[in-house]
Symmetry: C2
């Protein structure tokens, strides 16, 4: 059983050996892991392992794992596949607790040699107490323990943990999410999953106080029944977002080439979502979108949405998008319409829903009044405030004022109604793109669930509501 | 009948009167139209009409349309709705040929007063030879005649013409598209469509030599049968992209508030697409995406796509997306795999399809060889080359070299196979966003069909192929 105690030595190792470390600082593989551990200030002991070197980066180098003077908590293996079985045997002999096999070249190659090696390492692992992450993966990244991963990982610590069969996905997601104020507790890339399984990590997360939300990327799945029960249980207190890839014919073939997994059948996974209440996602952006929703919104079970934006055609597009995502855009109450009509003229605007008050977009006074009146309408459960971003340098100051007011307003209403912001508009000039990027960052960093498009906003909101609807029925 | 000759005076008027012009240069409405005509260098005569002024912007101002010394080709009406019927009567009396009613405040308000005014102007129009665009719309924009529209419209002339019931959509699309090298012949915003109908404009475009592609945004439709036949006929030589909005319950209500249209039923529109072969689109971005495909790709009827990218998880995602969009990502031939294996190692890569040659992404030599071999595989009809954009300042030079080679390669293969580029990666740092924006612009401006995401690329390609499949069956 992978209890908290057991996997602690994986996430917070007191010592790390890097097999395949080399003196070449630009080398891909072992030297990157070693360099990153040192660069980030990992506080435990580090043992480079390479029979061809005496010292690497100022650290004593060992010819093999058996020669290391103490049993390492974690061994990272980054040498070509044929050498991996022997290193595993050495790890067992030395009493190492955890192994991360970075090395690729096993079943995922589809070649006879890779499959044979896979059988060999699986056999070694199964007959030992060794806990193995991988092979064919980036391994473990834990900001709190300065444990390495690759690339430019954000340093902040947060409460989202990730289990991913793709290292690239983990890396791209963490880089993307940090710009939106989303930080991580533990990020696991576990590739072919010949050793530790998704359920092992999930069991740890279930009782891990640092993990409050969980995102998963799976290409295949073993222990399906246990997995479903576990997610169902965890999901009640820690929302779980699950991206299952490879459920299309072409995707299934790609999965086999990537992690050598069996992608499984769509109907099986549909049943999993229906039983567990896990939030289905289909991209990295969606994981970040869901994290924002659960980070900042009060629970909601109603689907009647207020759409406040600008532009007639744009309003129709927003309403269509919400409807397609399962949200309702109802008429506002008669009283709300009468109140709005006092300061929004009928011609060229609409005080129905979507509220298309063009002038309000860049007129703080009108915007503030419109927001206050519409958000409080009793026909409304949740609100999407759409900010149309386009090139209007002369209106920038007022545009910014409206955004500042929005942050203040949403903060004030945090415990009243879920309110999110979407950015619409498609201008692709550098200025516009810069404005969008900076605005999205500013909003999310200020504690607002803000989305780069109306589609992503509506989809995230709908899935957020679906989660709470599911929980209400339990 | 709206023959070429008849609507010529609308698109290329020799004189324009602006009713509601004022001396206030920042005024919304008539003064904007007048200012834009002057600013853009419209070559015909311009007659401001306003009973309260003698001279506006140095031009003699007339108290009403009847007082203008000659019959204007086009009258733009930008005064409050109650005054519009009288101006229409004046236009008839003066023998004006075309009218654009900018004014809002008719049926779309849902109020009794607006509906009455609508009946009144419809009655006037139907009993006259006046050709009326609108009301409640931005009117006509024709770069070749410097005819006005609002905002920062691109000046270049192209072969895409637009009919849109939303002025905002027309404006945003033209601004977005110019960044991608897409230019326009005629852009029509016709709002409530009380006068000229979509079919009138379509008849003009059918024989208009300057129009080679047509994009439509409709909220409602009159003359459905004639419309379908007309599109079916035009679509054979000039692809028609049709965005029909308001087909959801919430969207339908929004349509009624925007242009007072009846949105219609989804099944009716499904039948329209099936009969006419028109390309269904659902956003402005998609219109630009389709324009790029038809601008740069040779016709294709095969759905077997080569996916060349980088990253294991990313490759699975690309394959899933293509599959969902109706494309097939088949295995490459044995010979191709053997050729690729000569210089791409198996571990950590895949020479199946998607071809996940991580090292090739930033290594010009490997990339070029990989491209040449895979594009020529006989199992492949079309290709999506995925460029993963992320923060790698040290690899920028090689990244750019690969992009330059791609442009050269695609240009050389233009008549051999349709090859498009998609940008993947989700880094949201300003640097990454800037790189994406500039790369997309560079590629499209160089004559490459390039797309901001794999989803948009796969969707555009699939619809492009569907168009040619439909035509092959006719």
């Amino acid at each position: 059983m992978a209890s908290l105690r057991v996997l602690d030595s994986l996430f917070f190792p007191k010592s790390v050996a890097v097999v395949g470390a080399s003196a070449n600082p630009s080398g891909w593989g072992g030297s990157s892991f070693l360099t990153d551990l040192i660069k980030r200030g990992y506080a435990g002991k580090v043992f480079p392992v390479n029979p061809k070197a005496q010292v690497i980066s100022g650290l004593t180098c060992y010819p093999d794992v058996k020669s290391i003077p103490e049993a390492p908590d974690l061994v990272i293996i980054a040498i070509p596949a044929p050498g991996v079985p022997q290193v595993l045997r050495d790890c067992i002999a030395r009493g190492a607790k955890n192994v991360h096999i970075f090395t690729s070249g096993f079943s995922e190659t589809g070649e006879e040699e890779g499959r044979k090696l896979d059988l060999e390492i699986t056999d070694i692992i199964q007959n030992s107490d060794l806990r193995v992450v991988g092979p064919n993966c980036m391994g473990i990244w834990v900001p709190a323990s300065k444990l390495t991963y690759w690339g430019d990982q954000p340093r902040g610590e947060g409460d989202l943990s990730i289990i991913s069969q793709s290292g690239g996905h983990g890396e791209f997601l963490t880089q993307y999410a940090q710009q939106l104020g989303i930080y991580f507790s533990k990020v696991i890339s576990f590739g072919n999953a010949s050793g530790l399984q998704a359920v092992d990590f999930l069991e740890y997360f279930e009782t891990d106080p640092a993990t409050k939300k969980i995102a998963c990327y799976f290409e295949g799945m073993k222990n399906g029944g246990k997995f479903t029960q576990l997610i169902k249980s965890i999901n009640k207190t820690k929302p779980v977002f699950v991206w299952k890839s490879g459920l299309t014919p072409s995707g299934s073939r790609a999965v086999s080439s990537h992690t050598g997994s069996m992608a499984g059948e769509e109907k099986v996974w549909k049943a999993f979502y229906a039983q567990s209440g896990a939030v289905p996602v289909n991209s990295l952006e969606e994981i970040a979108d869901m994290a924002l929703a659960f980070q900042y919104l009060k629970p909601a079970t109603g689907r009647r949405v207020l759409l406040l934006g600008g532009g007639g055609g744009n309003s129709v597009a927003l309403a269509d998008i919400c409807s397609r995502e399962g949200l309702d855009v109802p008429r506002l109450s008669e009283n709300t319409r009468l109140e709005l009509n006092k300061f929004i003229r009928l011609a060229g605007n609409s005080v129905r829903n979507p509220v298309d008050a063009w002038s309000a977009q860049d007129t703080p006074d009108i915007f503030n009044k419109t927001l206050e009146i519409t958000v409080n309408d009793l026909n409304i459960d949740v609100a999407i405030i759409d900010r149309l971003v386009w090139n209007q340098p002369d209106k920038k100051e007022k545009f910014d004022q409206v955004n500042d007011y929005l942050i203040e307003f949403i903060t004030k209403y945090r415990s009243t109604k879920p309110i999110i912001i979407s950015l619409s508009g498609i201008n692709s000039s550098l200025d516009s793109v810069k404005t969008r990027t900076e605005l999205l960052k500013k909003l999310t960093m200020s504690g607002v669930a803000a989305y780069p498009s109306t589609l992503s906003a509506a989809r995230a909101l709908s899935k957020f509501i679906a989660y709470h609807e599911f929980m209400a029925k339990q």
